[in-house]
Amino acid sequence: MANHDINLTVRTGTVHALMGENGAGKSTLMKILYGMQKPDEGTITINGEQVEFATPGDAITRGIGMVHQHFMLADNLTVLENVVLGSEKLYGIGARAKAKIKEISDQYGLGVRPDALVEDLGVADRQRVEILKVLYRGARILILDEPTAVLVPQEVDALFDNLRDLKSEGVTVIFISHKLHEVLSVADAISVIRRGTTVGDADPGSVTARELAELMVGSELPSPESRESTVTDVEMLKVEGLRIAKADAEGIERVVLDDVSLTIRKGEILGVAGVEGNGQAELVEAIMGMLPLDAGTVVLDGQDLTGKLTRARREAGIGYVPEDRHRHGLLLEAPLWENRILGHVTETPNSKGFVLDPAAARRDTERIVREYDVRTPGIEVTAASLSGGNQQKLIVGREMSHNPKLLIAAHPTRGVDVGAQAQIWGQIRAAQQEGLAVLLISADLDELIGLSDTIRVIYRGRLVADADPATVTAEDLGTAMTGAAAGRIESADEALAEAAVVAEAAAVVEDAAAAEAAVAAEGAAVTEAAAVTEDAGTAEAAVAAEGAAVTEGAAATAAVTEDAVVAEDVPGEDATTTDTAGDDAQAGE
């Protein structure tokens, strides 16, 4: 989703956490605050003064600095050189600059050595260099984009100490994260973003992790309803002892999958929960044959696929809804019917022998468009011109059309509008009833709990815990995802009951969501909620972005026309509300 109606107020000298799932729109918002992207609507106010940023340079002169998730340092230069690079005018490049770096380092307790070579530094040290770089340029407002994603726990604690020092010196920190416990431990204020809009502010002193999680993943959104189990005892997928080690950018070998074993039976949906980057993507790619294995076996329906290539695995009956549909699922500049062939070029109706059968492929594309409700004016338009939800429906339709034995669905409803989400869930369930085995990867805990028959938790490449979706809450699952719990997780009855109430309420909304008209009403409700939480006129406001409606421009090819989405998702809503495919925001993460 593009961002719309985002309201954020940050007080001077505080650590303000901005929370949200991947793809919720955090990064887009930060890009706007840092001048990397221009909002279509809305204003940014700093210390009571309304400002406009055309470039990051403008933001820097206004005292806003950003520490990116991926460090932007030149390895072969020293810390001093990296810091002065591009800001030679400030304090020169010699002794004066070095003195200034020392001064800043001491003032905030960063412990940076100006003459060290960056390539000799560890990740945490590099991060401190990045922070210093920003402070050196005179920043008083610091934006940290998922700073803890790359750190080990001890380093996280050290970082938080640094942040507290910064705060005490009057620096304002905007801290982007989706890790509940970190946020609760360091933030003075919390804002939560979901689906491109601010859904609420919270006080870390009084809010619980559970409440935060609810805000983040949106328990009030439709969640899949529970139903009769269709699990059989026929093993469909059996994965044993998967191990993959990769060398990362620093050349250090990291084990990304470590002795992963799992079994999915006919008619079973196995959900894998985990914080992004803990090996989910590699697990999927290992089963698909896209990554070479260091050890382990993959057996589908009694057929050993371990040494087989991706095509053979697909032919053997694996359907694949990839996590990043633009990268792995579609040819954006090809027409829909060619996208229908993608991944199944060797199968009917797409080809006869070595020759393609475009006529049959076109006919079948029309069928998919009809049956899976893909909103498009025709099958000759490029995939890029569809909205994210319709692209995803096309992919799901394509994968289901070849009667898969196993469906790998990675974040199947990410960046998809509510109506499409319900449809996709429905389709997965229907296939499950006919005996489909599903491996579901999701960051949406409600989706996982509502859809899965079994849940496994992945943490640092290992399956560390498992749970029955009927007896676990999102909160406890979230705890296990941080590595704090292992083994069998069961939540307290009390919490379960509470969750059940929420789920019930959600079910009501879901019904409504099915009817498209209701979506508009829901959207309106969210807007209202945002308006309530909007902090009424804090005089010492450091940054305030109000009603910022944004269209992502960076990924133009992925962008969907505003009109299309407005027409589809929120008919009747103010036509100026702009919207883009959620994937854009994902791309920014």
């Binding site: 020759v355 393609l356 498009t376 004016p377 490029t382 505003e562």
Partner: protein, 397 residues
Amino acid sequence: MTTSTEPSPGLGLGGAPRRGRFQRIDRERLLLAIAAPVLAVVIAFAISSLLLAISGKDPFQAFSLMGNYGLGTSDGQVAVLNKATTYYIAGVAVAFGFRMNLFNIGADGQYRLAALFAAFVGGAVNLPSFIEIPLVLITAMLVGGLWAAIAGVLKVTRGVSEVISTIMLNAITTGVIGLLLVPGRFVPSVGGGGSSNSVQTKMMAPSSDFFTLNTQGGQLYGFIIVAVLIGVLFQLVLSRTRFGFDLRATGRSEEAAGASGVNVKRMVLTSMCISGALAGLIGMPDLLSADTGHYFGQSFQAGVGFTGIAIALLGRNTPVGIAFAALLWAFLDATNGQLSTNNYPPEIANVMQGTIVICVVVAYELVRRFGLKRQQQKVGAQLAAQAAAAAKKEVAA
């Protein structure tokens, strides 16, 4: 694929009115596709006119000289067509790689080496035409393909960019030819007598004559038919076979193709080989024509591989586009001799070629982005209109 823009008759989703709208989109895209090269050519003409005018020459006179010869005289037409034949094959060879984002800069080395070996093999035997000619052609394709395969293997196993390796292979080719094209190796030690300073392989037997079409303007390469067949085959393979689909998919998105089951590494190797094999044919019209050849000498035409890159770019890697591009290029090349014999700077044709390439690259990218955006808007507008119509119906009901 820009050629596949014509609407499918099987498009029955929305009935007549929507189909009409569709055709409009397509006509527009077609127009856009043509607009870019035409614009580039016009700009190139304008710039070279300016240059001519500055140097005190009459540009219109110069262009009419070129036009009169290249279009108006029969020998000019033959010269253009013969050149275009060679250029077309070069363009297709390069385009084949381009279609999957593989930049075979090495077509130049591949065809020269292929021609050397083909000439050597052809000179060493004396067989009836129906064996001799296929033997020569197969040798050329084999050598070209294997030479290109080196770059393919390096890319697949060591991750060496094919751009770098093929450029290097071009230089190596020159060295290898220098090494082999000496008396006692590929050149007969006792020359044909005389004291010609040019060194060349043994003449091939007359049976290696590929047929030529006798026209008023001279011998037209029979190879032009082969070139056309290559173009047709190229299109068929790309648009109608599984292999072609995999290739195009890989060209559009290597990652998506990989996830879809394409063995990208094997694909790289295969298409590099095919591109090289096609490149091996570049020298064949010359070699198999009694008019110009039957031998490989030190003055064997070099550089056509690079011309092929320009032509593939200009022709947008489609068989028809490449045909037009090859004709245009051949026209400029064949007619610039007219300029120098009439005291115009012959460099003007080179200026035009250069300008066309630069303009066309820019124009295509602009047009591509514009087209994509425009289509998205149109789709959005259409969907909105549909939704509005549906809402109205509901209200009415």
